[in-house]
Protein backbone atom coordinates (compact mmCIF):
# COMPACT_ATOMS: atom_id res chain seq x y z
CA UNK A 1 0.00 0.00 0.00
CA UNK A 2 1.33 3.48 -0.88
CA UNK A 3 2.27 5.71 2.05
CA UNK A 4 0.19 8.67 0.89
CA UNK A 5 -3.18 6.94 1.08
CA UNK A 6 -2.83 6.31 4.80
CA UNK A 7 -4.77 8.54 7.12
CA UNK A 8 -2.99 7.29 10.23
CA UNK A 9 0.36 5.56 10.46
CA UNK A 10 2.16 4.23 13.53
CA UNK A 11 5.67 3.10 12.64
CA UNK A 12 7.58 1.09 15.29
CA UNK A 13 6.31 3.35 18.04
CA UNK A 14 7.70 3.07 21.58
CA UNK A 15 6.57 5.14 24.52
CA UNK A 16 8.19 5.22 27.94
CA UNK A 17 6.68 7.05 30.90
CA UNK A 18 8.83 8.29 33.77
CA UNK A 19 6.81 8.88 36.88
CA UNK A 20 8.49 10.82 39.67
CA UNK A 21 10.01 8.53 42.27
CA UNK A 22 9.64 5.29 40.31
CA UNK A 23 11.33 3.38 37.50
CA UNK A 24 10.44 4.29 33.89
CA UNK A 25 7.60 2.18 32.49
CA UNK A 26 7.30 1.06 28.87
CA UNK A 27 3.71 1.74 27.80
CA UNK A 28 4.03 0.90 24.09
CA UNK A 29 6.49 -1.46 22.41
CA UNK A 30 7.00 -1.54 18.66
CA UNK A 31 3.46 -0.59 17.75
CA UNK A 32 2.94 -0.51 13.99
CA UNK A 33 -0.35 -0.12 12.16
CA UNK A 34 -2.05 1.97 9.50
CA UNK A 35 -5.59 3.17 9.00
CA UNK A 36 -7.00 4.09 5.60
CA UNK A 37 -9.11 7.22 5.17
CA UNK A 38 -12.63 6.55 6.36
CA UNK A 39 -11.72 3.39 8.24
CA UNK A 40 -13.29 2.79 11.64
CA UNK A 41 -10.62 1.10 13.79
CA UNK A 42 -11.21 -0.06 17.36
CA UNK A 43 -8.43 -0.60 19.89
CA UNK A 44 -9.23 -3.21 22.53
CA UNK A 45 -7.13 -4.81 25.25
CA UNK A 46 -6.62 -5.00 29.00
CA UNK A 47 -6.67 -1.79 31.06
CA UNK A 48 -3.44 0.14 30.99
CA UNK A 49 -2.17 -1.39 27.74
CA UNK A 50 -1.45 1.96 26.12
CA UNK A 51 -4.57 2.26 23.94
CA UNK A 52 -5.27 5.78 25.18
CA UNK A 53 -1.58 6.60 24.81
CA UNK A 54 -1.90 5.86 21.09
CA UNK A 55 -4.69 8.43 20.82
CA UNK A 56 -2.69 11.01 22.78
CA UNK A 57 0.28 10.49 20.47
CA UNK A 58 -1.80 11.12 17.38
CA UNK A 59 -3.38 14.18 19.04
CA UNK A 60 0.14 15.42 19.74
CA UNK A 61 -0.57 15.76 23.47
CA UNK A 62 2.35 13.38 24.00
CA UNK A 63 5.29 12.47 21.78
CA UNK A 64 6.65 9.00 21.06
CA UNK A 65 9.92 7.97 22.73
CA UNK A 66 10.90 6.24 19.50
CA UNK A 67 9.31 5.62 16.10
CA UNK A 68 6.97 7.79 14.06
CA UNK A 69 3.32 8.72 14.38
CA UNK A 70 1.99 10.28 11.19
CA UNK A 71 -1.30 11.85 10.21
CA UNK A 72 -2.06 12.11 6.47
CA UNK A 73 1.56 11.27 5.82
CA UNK A 74 3.03 14.03 8.02
CA UNK A 75 4.72 13.15 11.32
CA UNK A 76 2.89 14.67 14.30
CA UNK A 77 4.88 17.38 16.12
CA UNK A 78 3.14 19.37 18.82
CA UNK A 79 -0.61 19.50 19.35
CA UNK A 80 -2.38 18.15 16.28
CA UNK A 81 -5.37 20.43 15.85
CA UNK A 82 -6.56 18.68 12.71
CA UNK A 83 -7.94 15.70 14.63
CA UNK A 84 -11.09 15.51 16.69
CA UNK A 85 -10.62 14.20 20.23
CA UNK A 86 -13.45 12.79 22.35
CA UNK A 87 -12.63 11.71 25.89
CA UNK A 88 -14.37 9.39 28.32
CA UNK A 89 -15.45 12.29 30.53
CA UNK A 90 -17.66 14.58 28.50
CA UNK A 91 -15.39 17.55 29.34
CA UNK A 92 -18.08 20.10 28.57
CA UNK A 93 -17.53 23.60 29.93
CA UNK A 94 -20.02 23.78 32.82
CA UNK A 95 -20.51 27.53 32.45
CA UNK A 96 -21.55 27.31 28.80
CA UNK A 97 -24.93 26.30 27.48
CA UNK A 98 -25.28 23.29 25.18
CA UNK A 99 -25.14 25.63 22.19
CA UNK A 100 -22.08 27.42 23.57
CA UNK A 101 -20.32 24.10 24.09
CA UNK A 102 -21.08 22.85 20.59
CA UNK A 103 -19.84 26.16 19.15
CA UNK A 104 -16.64 26.13 21.22
CA UNK A 105 -14.51 24.12 18.78
CA UNK A 106 -15.55 26.31 15.85
CA UNK A 107 -15.05 29.46 17.93
CA UNK A 108 -11.47 28.41 18.72
CA UNK A 109 -10.90 27.80 15.00
CA UNK A 110 -12.21 31.21 14.05
CA UNK A 111 -15.39 30.12 12.24
CA UNK A 112 -17.64 33.20 11.75
CA UNK A 113 -20.47 33.55 14.26
CA UNK A 114 -23.28 33.10 11.73
CA UNK A 115 -21.88 29.86 10.33
CA UNK A 116 -21.08 28.60 13.82
CA UNK A 117 -24.66 29.11 14.90
CA UNK A 118 -26.11 27.34 11.85
CA UNK A 119 -23.78 24.35 11.96
CA UNK A 120 -24.24 23.89 15.70
CA UNK A 121 -28.01 23.99 15.26
CA UNK A 122 -27.87 21.43 12.46
CA UNK A 123 -25.92 18.96 14.61
CA UNK A 124 -27.98 19.63 17.72
CA UNK A 125 -31.09 18.72 15.75
CA UNK A 126 -29.37 15.72 14.20
CA UNK A 127 -28.96 14.04 17.60
CA UNK A 128 -32.36 15.06 18.92
CA UNK A 129 -31.20 17.76 21.33
CA UNK A 130 -33.36 20.53 19.81
CA UNK A 131 -35.08 22.44 22.60
CA UNK A 132 -32.13 22.04 24.97
CA UNK A 133 -29.85 24.62 23.30
CA UNK A 134 -29.85 26.96 26.29
CA UNK A 135 -29.52 24.23 28.95
CA UNK A 136 -26.30 24.00 30.97
CA UNK A 137 -24.46 20.64 31.19
CA UNK A 138 -25.62 20.02 34.78
CA UNK A 139 -29.21 20.23 33.55
CA UNK A 140 -28.66 17.50 30.93
CA UNK A 141 -28.67 13.71 31.34
CA UNK A 142 -25.48 11.67 30.90
CA UNK A 143 -26.56 10.54 27.43
CA UNK A 144 -27.35 14.11 26.36
CA UNK A 145 -23.97 15.38 27.61
CA UNK A 146 -22.27 12.59 25.68
CA UNK A 147 -24.15 13.53 22.50
CA UNK A 148 -23.09 17.14 23.01
CA UNK A 149 -19.46 16.09 23.45
CA UNK A 150 -19.55 14.05 20.27
CA UNK A 151 -21.23 16.60 18.03
CA UNK A 152 -19.03 19.47 19.20
CA UNK A 153 -16.11 17.44 17.84
CA UNK A 154 -17.77 16.12 14.65
CA UNK A 155 -19.16 19.56 13.85
CA UNK A 156 -15.84 20.74 12.45
CA UNK A 157 -15.32 17.84 10.06
CA UNK A 158 -11.83 16.69 10.95
CA UNK A 159 -10.46 13.85 8.86
CA UNK A 160 -9.54 11.78 11.91
CA UNK A 161 -11.61 11.39 15.06
CA UNK A 162 -10.09 9.90 18.24
CA UNK A 163 -12.54 8.46 20.72
CA UNK A 164 -11.35 7.25 24.12
CA UNK A 165 -14.03 5.00 25.64
CA UNK A 166 -16.65 7.62 24.91
CA UNK A 167 -19.58 5.48 26.09
CA UNK A 168 -17.82 4.04 29.14
CA UNK A 169 -19.85 5.64 31.92
CA UNK A 170 -23.28 5.19 30.29
CA UNK A 171 -25.96 2.60 31.11
CA UNK A 172 -26.37 -0.35 28.73
CA UNK A 173 -29.45 0.92 26.88
CA UNK A 174 -28.11 4.42 26.35
CA UNK A 175 -24.85 2.96 25.07
CA UNK A 176 -26.56 1.05 22.27
CA UNK A 177 -28.67 4.05 21.30
CA UNK A 178 -25.57 6.23 21.13
CA UNK A 179 -23.66 3.61 19.13
CA UNK A 180 -26.43 3.73 16.54
CA UNK A 181 -26.31 7.54 16.51
CA UNK A 182 -22.54 7.54 16.18
CA UNK A 183 -22.76 5.23 13.16
CA UNK A 184 -25.35 7.49 11.59
CA UNK A 185 -23.15 10.57 12.12
CA UNK A 186 -20.07 8.73 10.90
CA UNK A 187 -21.80 7.66 7.67
CA UNK A 188 -22.43 11.34 6.83
CA UNK A 189 -18.80 12.33 6.38
CA UNK A 190 -16.91 9.07 6.96
CA UNK A 191 -13.91 10.33 8.93
CA UNK A 192 -11.18 7.91 9.99
CA UNK A 193 -11.94 6.83 13.57
CA UNK A 194 -9.65 5.39 16.24
CA UNK A 195 -11.97 4.10 18.93
CA UNK A 196 -10.77 2.78 22.29
CA UNK A 197 -13.20 0.50 24.09
CA UNK A 198 -13.44 -2.41 26.52
CA UNK A 199 -16.73 -3.58 25.07
CA UNK A 200 -16.20 -6.23 22.39
CA UNK A 201 -19.80 -6.11 21.17
CA UNK A 202 -19.43 -2.37 20.74
CA UNK A 203 -16.15 -2.82 18.85
CA UNK A 204 -17.76 -5.34 16.46
CA UNK A 205 -20.89 -3.26 15.92
CA UNK A 206 -18.92 -0.14 14.97
CA UNK A 207 -15.61 -1.14 13.40
CA UNK A 208 -14.05 -2.10 10.10
CA UNK A 209 -11.02 -3.37 11.98
CA UNK A 210 -10.25 -4.31 15.57
CA UNK A 211 -6.71 -4.17 16.96
CA UNK A 212 -6.21 -6.38 20.00
CA UNK A 213 -3.49 -5.08 22.34
CA UNK A 214 -1.45 -7.05 24.82
CA UNK A 215 -0.84 -5.43 28.16
CA UNK A 216 2.35 -4.25 29.81
CA UNK A 217 3.94 -3.06 27.55
CA UNK A 218 1.26 -2.54 24.90
CA UNK A 219 1.86 -4.25 21.58
CA UNK A 220 -0.55 -5.24 18.85
CA UNK A 221 -1.38 -8.92 19.18
CA UNK A 222 -3.85 -9.33 16.34
CA UNK A 223 -5.53 -7.26 13.67
CA UNK A 224 -9.13 -8.40 12.94
CA UNK A 225 -11.10 -7.38 9.88
CA UNK A 226 -14.84 -7.01 10.60
CA UNK A 227 -16.59 -8.00 7.40
CA UNK A 228 -20.17 -7.54 8.59
CA UNK A 229 -22.27 -5.60 6.07
CA UNK A 230 -23.04 -1.90 6.54
CA UNK A 231 -25.13 -0.05 7.44
CA UNK A 232 -25.22 -1.92 10.74
CA UNK A 233 -27.79 -1.94 13.47
CA UNK A 234 -26.21 -2.12 16.94
CA UNK A 235 -29.58 -3.31 18.37
CA UNK A 236 -29.42 -6.48 16.28
CA UNK A 237 -25.70 -6.91 15.76
CA UNK A 238 -25.67 -10.23 17.68
CA UNK A 239 -27.92 -11.81 15.07
CA UNK A 240 -25.64 -10.96 12.17
CA UNK A 241 -24.02 -14.09 10.71
CA UNK A 242 -20.37 -14.19 11.67
CA UNK A 243 -20.84 -12.19 14.87
CA UNK A 244 -20.53 -15.20 17.16
CA UNK A 245 -17.24 -16.49 15.74
CA UNK A 246 -15.66 -13.06 15.78
CA UNK A 247 -16.77 -12.39 19.34
CA UNK A 248 -15.43 -15.76 20.52
CA UNK A 249 -12.10 -15.22 18.79
CA UNK A 250 -11.71 -11.72 20.26
CA UNK A 251 -12.70 -12.89 23.69
CA UNK A 252 -10.24 -15.78 23.78
CA UNK A 253 -7.46 -13.38 22.68
CA UNK A 254 -8.37 -10.83 25.30
CA UNK A 255 -8.97 -13.28 28.12
CA UNK A 256 -5.39 -14.52 27.95
CA UNK A 257 -4.18 -10.94 28.19
CA UNK A 258 -6.39 -10.06 31.13
CA UNK A 259 -5.35 -13.18 33.03
CA UNK A 260 -1.74 -12.48 32.16
CA UNK A 261 -2.01 -8.87 33.35
CA UNK A 262 -3.56 -10.03 36.61
CA UNK A 263 -0.82 -12.62 37.14
CA UNK A 264 1.93 -10.06 36.50
CA UNK A 265 0.55 -7.34 38.78
Amino acid sequence: MQQTTESVRFDHVYKAFVARGSEPVLALRDVTFQARPGEFVSLVGPSGCGKSTCLNLLAGLDSPSDGTVAHDGDPVHGVNTSVGYITQEDNLLPWRSLRGNVELSMELRGVPRRERRDRAQEFIELVGLAGFEEHYPHQLSGGMRKRAGIIRTLVYDSGVVLMDEPFGPLDAQTRVILQAELLRLWERSRPTVLFVTHDLVEAIALSDRILVFTGNPGTIKRDYRVDLPRPRDPFHIHETPGFGELHDALWSDIRVEIEHARGVS
Binding site: T81, Y85, T87, N91, L93, P94, W95, L104, R109, H138
Partner: protein, 289 residues
Protein backbone atom coordinates in the same frame (compact mmCIF):
# COMPACT_ATOMS: atom_id res chain seq x y z
CA UNK B 1 -39.47 -19.77 20.52
CA UNK B 2 -42.81 -18.25 21.42
CA UNK B 3 -42.78 -15.13 23.52
CA UNK B 4 -44.14 -15.73 26.99
CA UNK B 5 -45.39 -12.29 27.90
CA UNK B 6 -48.75 -10.96 28.98
CA UNK B 7 -50.18 -7.48 29.28
CA UNK B 8 -51.76 -6.99 32.71
CA UNK B 9 -55.40 -5.86 32.57
CA UNK B 10 -55.30 -2.27 33.74
CA UNK B 11 -58.23 -0.34 35.18
CA UNK B 12 -60.52 1.03 32.46
CA UNK B 13 -59.45 4.50 31.49
CA UNK B 14 -62.29 6.37 33.23
CA UNK B 15 -61.43 4.79 36.58
CA UNK B 16 -57.70 5.56 36.50
CA UNK B 17 -56.84 7.29 39.79
CA UNK B 18 -53.39 8.53 38.63
CA UNK B 19 -54.32 12.22 38.64
CA UNK B 20 -55.92 12.04 42.08
CA UNK B 21 -52.97 10.17 43.57
CA UNK B 22 -50.62 12.85 42.22
CA UNK B 23 -52.78 15.66 43.58
CA UNK B 24 -52.99 14.02 47.01
CA UNK B 25 -49.23 13.44 47.13
CA UNK B 26 -48.61 17.08 46.19
CA UNK B 27 -51.02 18.36 48.84
CA UNK B 28 -49.49 16.11 51.51
CA UNK B 29 -46.03 17.36 50.60
CA UNK B 30 -47.18 21.01 50.87
CA UNK B 31 -48.76 20.35 54.26
CA UNK B 32 -45.58 18.67 55.48
CA UNK B 33 -43.46 21.61 54.31
CA UNK B 34 -45.74 24.14 55.98
CA UNK B 35 -45.62 22.20 59.22
CA UNK B 36 -41.83 21.97 59.09
CA UNK B 37 -41.53 25.69 58.47
CA UNK B 38 -43.79 26.48 61.41
CA UNK B 39 -41.80 24.22 63.72
CA UNK B 40 -38.52 25.78 62.57
CA UNK B 41 -39.75 29.32 63.10
CA UNK B 42 -41.22 28.49 66.49
CA UNK B 43 -37.93 26.90 67.49
CA UNK B 44 -35.81 29.83 66.34
CA UNK B 45 -38.04 32.46 67.93
CA UNK B 46 -38.38 30.43 71.12
CA UNK B 47 -34.63 29.93 71.46
CA UNK B 48 -33.96 33.61 70.77
CA UNK B 49 -36.54 34.62 73.39
CA UNK B 50 -35.08 32.17 75.90
CA UNK B 51 -31.57 33.62 75.44
CA UNK B 52 -32.81 37.18 75.83
CA UNK B 53 -34.88 36.24 78.92
CA UNK B 54 -31.94 34.46 80.50
CA UNK B 55 -29.71 37.46 79.77
CA UNK B 56 -32.33 39.83 81.27
CA UNK B 57 -33.15 37.83 84.40
CA UNK B 58 -30.77 34.90 84.87
CA UNK B 59 -27.27 36.01 83.94
CA UNK B 60 -26.81 38.18 87.05
CA UNK B 61 -26.56 34.99 89.12
CA UNK B 62 -23.57 33.81 87.08
CA UNK B 63 -21.46 36.92 86.51
CA UNK B 64 -21.33 40.38 87.97
CA UNK B 65 -24.39 42.14 86.43
CA UNK B 66 -22.41 45.37 86.19
CA UNK B 67 -20.40 43.91 83.32
CA UNK B 68 -23.12 42.28 81.21
CA UNK B 69 -25.83 44.92 81.15
CA UNK B 70 -29.23 43.54 80.00
CA UNK B 71 -31.15 43.38 76.70
CA UNK B 72 -33.53 46.21 77.58
CA UNK B 73 -30.70 48.62 78.46
CA UNK B 74 -28.78 47.59 75.33
CA UNK B 75 -31.88 48.16 73.18
CA UNK B 76 -32.39 51.53 74.84
CA UNK B 77 -28.75 52.46 74.27
CA UNK B 78 -29.03 51.51 70.59
CA UNK B 79 -32.07 53.74 70.31
CA UNK B 80 -30.14 56.68 71.83
CA UNK B 81 -27.13 56.08 69.55
CA UNK B 82 -29.40 55.98 66.53
CA UNK B 83 -31.24 59.10 67.63
CA UNK B 84 -28.19 61.33 68.03
CA UNK B 85 -26.83 60.27 64.61
CA UNK B 86 -23.24 59.80 65.79
CA UNK B 87 -23.56 56.09 65.13
CA UNK B 88 -23.90 56.72 61.40
CA UNK B 89 -20.52 58.44 61.37
CA UNK B 90 -18.93 55.46 63.14
CA UNK B 91 -20.58 52.95 60.80
CA UNK B 92 -19.54 55.05 57.82
CA UNK B 93 -15.92 55.31 58.94
CA UNK B 94 -15.60 51.57 59.59
CA UNK B 95 -17.36 50.59 56.38
CA UNK B 96 -15.19 53.03 54.42
CA UNK B 97 -11.97 51.58 55.84
CA UNK B 98 -13.20 48.02 55.35
CA UNK B 99 -14.45 48.72 51.83
CA UNK B 100 -11.22 50.36 50.67
CA UNK B 101 -9.11 47.64 52.30
CA UNK B 102 -11.34 45.01 50.73
CA UNK B 103 -10.92 46.47 47.24
CA UNK B 104 -7.15 46.76 47.60
CA UNK B 105 -6.72 43.32 49.15
CA UNK B 106 -9.02 41.52 46.73
CA UNK B 107 -7.51 43.05 43.60
CA UNK B 108 -3.95 42.48 44.82
CA UNK B 109 -4.86 38.87 45.67
CA UNK B 110 -6.37 38.26 42.24
CA UNK B 111 -3.53 39.91 40.38
CA UNK B 112 -0.73 38.10 42.20
CA UNK B 113 -2.50 34.73 42.01
CA UNK B 114 -2.86 35.06 38.26
CA UNK B 115 0.72 36.19 37.89
CA UNK B 116 2.06 33.26 39.91
CA UNK B 117 -0.26 30.63 38.46
CA UNK B 118 1.27 31.23 35.03
CA UNK B 119 4.28 29.20 36.07
CA UNK B 120 4.30 26.30 38.48
CA UNK B 121 7.92 26.99 39.43
CA UNK B 122 7.13 30.59 40.33
CA UNK B 123 4.44 29.39 42.68
CA UNK B 124 6.78 26.88 44.27
CA UNK B 125 9.43 29.55 44.91
CA UNK B 126 6.95 31.88 46.60
CA UNK B 127 4.99 29.25 48.47
CA UNK B 128 7.08 29.04 51.69
CA UNK B 129 6.95 32.83 52.11
CA UNK B 130 3.23 32.87 51.53
CA UNK B 131 2.71 30.11 54.07
CA UNK B 132 4.90 31.99 56.53
CA UNK B 133 3.01 35.27 56.18
CA UNK B 134 -0.27 33.43 56.16
CA UNK B 135 0.64 31.87 59.54
CA UNK B 136 1.16 35.22 61.29
CA UNK B 137 -1.90 36.26 63.29
CA UNK B 138 -2.32 39.50 61.36
CA UNK B 139 -3.73 41.31 64.37
CA UNK B 140 -0.30 41.11 66.01
CA UNK B 141 0.83 43.57 63.35
CA UNK B 142 -1.81 46.18 64.27
CA UNK B 143 0.35 48.07 66.83
CA UNK B 144 3.21 48.21 64.28
CA UNK B 145 0.95 49.57 61.57
CA UNK B 146 -0.23 52.28 63.93
CA UNK B 147 3.34 53.27 64.73
CA UNK B 148 4.21 53.31 61.05
CA UNK B 149 1.11 54.93 59.60
CA UNK B 150 -0.38 56.95 62.44
CA UNK B 151 -3.81 57.15 64.04
CA UNK B 152 -5.76 57.87 60.84
CA UNK B 153 -7.51 55.39 58.63
CA UNK B 154 -4.38 54.19 56.77
CA UNK B 155 -3.37 51.42 59.22
CA UNK B 156 -7.00 50.20 59.33
CA UNK B 157 -7.23 50.02 55.57
CA UNK B 158 -3.92 48.14 55.42
CA UNK B 159 -5.02 45.66 58.07
CA UNK B 160 -8.33 45.02 56.28
CA UNK B 161 -6.51 44.62 52.95
CA UNK B 162 -4.03 42.17 54.45
CA UNK B 163 -6.74 39.91 55.90
CA UNK B 164 -8.56 39.91 52.57
CA UNK B 165 -5.46 39.51 50.43
CA UNK B 166 -4.35 36.10 51.66
CA UNK B 167 -7.74 34.44 51.47
CA UNK B 168 -8.43 35.73 47.97
CA UNK B 169 -4.90 34.85 46.86
CA UNK B 170 -4.98 31.27 48.17
CA UNK B 171 -8.44 30.58 46.76
CA UNK B 172 -7.70 32.09 43.38
CA UNK B 173 -4.39 30.26 43.04
CA UNK B 174 -6.07 26.98 44.06
CA UNK B 175 -8.95 27.58 41.67
CA UNK B 176 -6.52 28.16 38.80
CA UNK B 177 -4.38 25.15 39.64
CA UNK B 178 -7.38 22.85 40.03
CA UNK B 179 -8.83 23.47 36.57
CA UNK B 180 -9.77 20.08 35.11
CA UNK B 181 -6.76 19.10 32.94
CA UNK B 182 -9.12 17.19 30.62
CA UNK B 183 -10.82 20.45 29.64
CA UNK B 184 -7.47 22.01 28.82
CA UNK B 185 -6.38 19.02 26.72
CA UNK B 186 -9.59 18.93 24.72
CA UNK B 187 -9.45 22.67 24.09
CA UNK B 188 -5.81 22.48 22.98
CA UNK B 189 -6.74 19.87 20.37
CA UNK B 190 -9.62 22.16 19.34
CA UNK B 191 -6.91 24.68 18.50
CA UNK B 192 -6.97 26.91 21.59
CA UNK B 193 -4.02 29.25 22.03
CA UNK B 194 -2.71 30.20 25.47
CA UNK B 195 -4.82 33.35 25.49
CA UNK B 196 -7.95 31.30 24.70
CA UNK B 197 -7.17 28.80 27.44
CA UNK B 198 -6.84 31.54 30.07
CA UNK B 199 -9.85 33.53 28.90
CA UNK B 200 -12.25 30.75 28.01
CA UNK B 201 -11.27 27.95 30.40
CA UNK B 202 -9.07 28.94 33.34
CA UNK B 203 -10.80 32.19 34.31
CA UNK B 204 -14.35 30.88 34.19
CA UNK B 205 -13.33 27.62 35.91
CA UNK B 206 -11.71 29.51 38.78
CA UNK B 207 -14.55 32.03 39.02
CA UNK B 208 -16.76 30.27 41.61
CA UNK B 209 -13.89 29.81 44.08
CA UNK B 210 -12.75 33.38 43.49
CA UNK B 211 -16.20 34.92 43.87
CA UNK B 212 -16.98 32.84 46.97
CA UNK B 213 -13.69 33.86 48.58
CA UNK B 214 -14.36 37.50 47.76
CA UNK B 215 -17.77 37.23 49.35
CA UNK B 216 -16.61 35.74 52.62
CA UNK B 217 -13.67 38.12 52.92
CA UNK B 218 -15.78 41.25 53.28
CA UNK B 219 -16.47 40.03 56.81
CA UNK B 220 -12.73 39.76 57.36
CA UNK B 221 -12.23 43.31 56.06
CA UNK B 222 -14.68 44.65 58.64
CA UNK B 223 -12.96 42.53 61.28
CA UNK B 224 -9.57 44.00 60.33
CA UNK B 225 -10.88 47.56 60.45
CA UNK B 226 -12.66 47.09 63.81
CA UNK B 227 -9.70 45.35 65.43
CA UNK B 228 -7.32 48.11 64.33
CA UNK B 229 -9.71 50.70 65.66
CA UNK B 230 -9.62 48.86 68.98
CA UNK B 231 -5.88 49.37 69.23
CA UNK B 232 -5.85 53.10 68.56
CA UNK B 233 -8.28 55.36 66.77
CA UNK B 234 -10.49 58.39 67.07
CA UNK B 235 -13.63 57.15 65.32
CA UNK B 236 -15.34 54.02 63.94
CA UNK B 237 -17.29 51.15 65.48
CA UNK B 238 -14.18 49.64 67.04
CA UNK B 239 -13.41 52.99 68.65
CA UNK B 240 -16.98 53.20 69.96
CA UNK B 241 -16.75 49.78 71.61
CA UNK B 242 -13.23 50.29 72.94
CA UNK B 243 -14.01 53.70 74.44
CA UNK B 244 -17.20 52.41 76.06
CA UNK B 245 -15.45 49.41 77.54
CA UNK B 246 -12.72 51.62 79.07
CA UNK B 247 -15.53 53.65 80.63
CA UNK B 248 -17.33 50.49 81.85
CA UNK B 249 -20.30 51.56 79.74
CA UNK B 250 -21.36 47.97 79.12
CA UNK B 251 -24.68 48.76 77.42
CA UNK B 252 -22.79 50.72 74.74
CA UNK B 253 -20.25 47.91 74.31
CA UNK B 254 -23.08 45.46 73.59
CA UNK B 255 -24.91 47.96 71.43
CA UNK B 256 -21.73 48.39 69.35
CA UNK B 257 -21.27 44.63 69.03
CA UNK B 258 -24.86 44.17 67.86
CA UNK B 259 -24.45 46.97 65.33
CA UNK B 260 -21.24 45.40 63.99
CA UNK B 261 -23.04 42.06 63.63
CA UNK B 262 -25.92 43.69 61.78
CA UNK B 263 -23.54 45.53 59.43
CA UNK B 264 -21.65 42.30 58.65
CA UNK B 265 -24.84 40.32 58.05
CA UNK B 266 -26.24 43.01 55.78
CA UNK B 267 -22.99 43.16 53.79
CA UNK B 268 -22.98 39.36 53.43
CA UNK B 269 -26.57 39.29 52.23
CA UNK B 270 -25.83 41.91 49.56
CA UNK B 271 -22.72 40.07 48.39
CA UNK B 272 -24.48 36.70 48.30
CA UNK B 273 -27.20 38.22 46.15
CA UNK B 274 -24.56 39.66 43.83
CA UNK B 275 -22.88 36.25 43.62
CA UNK B 276 -26.03 34.41 42.53
CA UNK B 277 -26.70 37.14 39.96
CA UNK B 278 -23.16 37.01 38.59
CA UNK B 279 -22.79 33.23 38.31
CA UNK B 280 -26.12 31.68 37.41
CA UNK B 281 -24.69 28.31 36.31
CA UNK B 282 -22.98 27.58 39.60
CA UNK B 283 -24.00 26.53 43.08
CA UNK B 284 -21.40 28.41 45.10
CA UNK B 285 -17.74 27.50 45.24
CA UNK B 286 -15.74 25.83 47.96
CA UNK B 287 -13.67 28.23 50.04
CA UNK B 288 -10.34 27.58 51.65
CA UNK B 289 -9.61 30.03 54.33
Amino acid sequence: MTLLATTPNGTPHGLDRGAEVLAEAGAAQRRRRRRERTVRWAGTVGLGAAILLFWQFGLEYLVNPRYVSDPLSVAGRMGELAADGAILTHVGVTLGEAGLGFLIGASAGLASAFALAQTRRGYEVFEPFLVGFYSIPKIALAPLFIMWFGLGSTPKVIMAALLVYFIVFVNTATGIREVNPGLLRVCRVFGARRRDLVGKVVLPAAAPAVVASIRITFTRAIEGAVLSEFVASTQGLGYLVARASRAFDIATVFAGIVIIAVVVMAANAVLRLAETRLLPGHHGGRVHG
